[in-house]
């Protein structure tokens, strides 16, 4: 997957209105969809106008992009079901305001994965990994969420059943890896170091230093149960994990303040 994030340049802000101009873009991949979504929210989304539409606009519309933006703007909770007879490629965004929202959608997520051709065992393994990410996100950001948006997790799923490829992204507007870990690991000085640290065993921000294996569990499952890779962005820094210990810094100057995005790319 080629990551350039040029799509972020298609958004301009004027007072409380955002203007989208997608005319220079030919396509958008699932990682960029989530990043664009987070970027729009980070700009203080109130209203938007689309200056130029094109293929990217059509794609965004098809994944409920604007519908989910509206839902967040109105802070409405609607657990739109993932359970659909999807036979073709699809992509969906979903927002969670409470941890319980995620729990409520777990059975639908498993049903959807099985529908796509996952074995039940792999579907549950992936669900369990997602559960750890969501749990961590709500725990580490307690009392520290973005003051405007409050607790909010965005999940995006994109499937290509014919290629047996599946992407899933769990992102939030929390404080990021460095802020979370620096209390227990004061020698950590930047987001890249903090992400690399978080991928190791028993790394936690909890006072009692218990736990801290959520990302390790995810890695073990991805690199043992599936073929795939991980993209992890914390604030302005994006890294790629291809397999255990093979970590590459992709960017460290992205226009994000508080937010993280863990993007899982699976071949099953």
């Amino acid at each position: 997957m080629k990551i350039n994030l040029d799509v972020l340049n298609s958004v301009q802000k004027n007072k409380e209105t955002l203007y989208f101009d997608f005319s220079n873009l030919r396509s958008i991949n699932s990682f960029e969809i989530v990043e664009l979504f987070l970027y729009i929210l980070s700009l203080g989304y109130v209203d938007y106008q689309v200056k130029e539409r094109g293929e990217v606009f059509t794609k965004l519309k098809s994944v409920n992009f604007f519908q989910e933006l509206e839902k967040i703007k109105q802070n409405k909770l609607g657990i739109s079901s993932f359970r659909q007879k999807e036979e073709k490629d699809f992509c969906k965004l979903q927002s969670y305001f409470y941890k319980a929202d995620f729990y409520s959608s777990c059975e639908n997520i498993v049903a959807l994965l099985i529908n796509l051709g996952f074995t039940e065992e792999l579907a549950l393994l992936l669900l369990s990994s997602l559960g750890e990410l969501v749990d961590n996100s709500f725990f580490h950001n307690l009392g520290r969420w973005d003051t405007r948006l409050g607790p909010l997790i965005i999940m995006l799923m994109q499937a290509f059943p014919e290629k047996r490829e599946f992407n899933i992204s769990v992102s939030d507007f929390g404080v990021g890896f460095l802020e979370t870990l620096k209390k227990n690991y004061p020698e950590t000085s930047n987001e890249e170091e903090a992400i690399k640290l978080a991928l190791k065993e028993n790394i936690t921000s909890r006072i009692e230093k218990r736990g801290g294996n959520g990302l390790l569990f995810l890695q073990n499952n991805i690199f043992n149960g599936f073929k795939g890779n991980l993209l992890i962005r914390s604030r302005d820094t994006l890294i790629e994990v291809k397999k255990h210990e093979e970590i590459k810094l992709l960017k460290n100057n992205l226009p994000f303040r508080n937010s993280t995005n863990i993007f899982i790319n699976l071949k099953y």
Binding site: K99, Y103, C106, E107, V110, E120, E121, L124, L125, L127, S128, G131, E132, D135, F139, E201, N202, R210, G211, N213, G214, L216, F217, N220, N221
Partner: protein
Amino acid sequence: MKRIHLKTFGKILMGREEGRSSYHVFKEKLSEIPDGEKAFCDFTDVMVMAPSFCDEVFGEIEAESPARLVIDQNVNLATKKAFETVEQARKIKFEFGEYV
């Protein structure tokens, strides 16, 4: 051997805070089983258990009262992986077996 049904804690066992609350209830159930007798942890109808929940309940109990629990050997792969993650992190070993 006495049986503790994990489905009484939920179908989806996830979350460290949820695990911490469950730990206290689980411990109460365990206290009703005479010392020296093992507790069989029955996962029938549990869809999945994640590592953080597992750590808070089973990691804690195993650390406090080693060899008190026998874990249902028929747990699914995801739940088995959660136990393995806790074993690795805490350097402990769970006993898996059947209800006898």
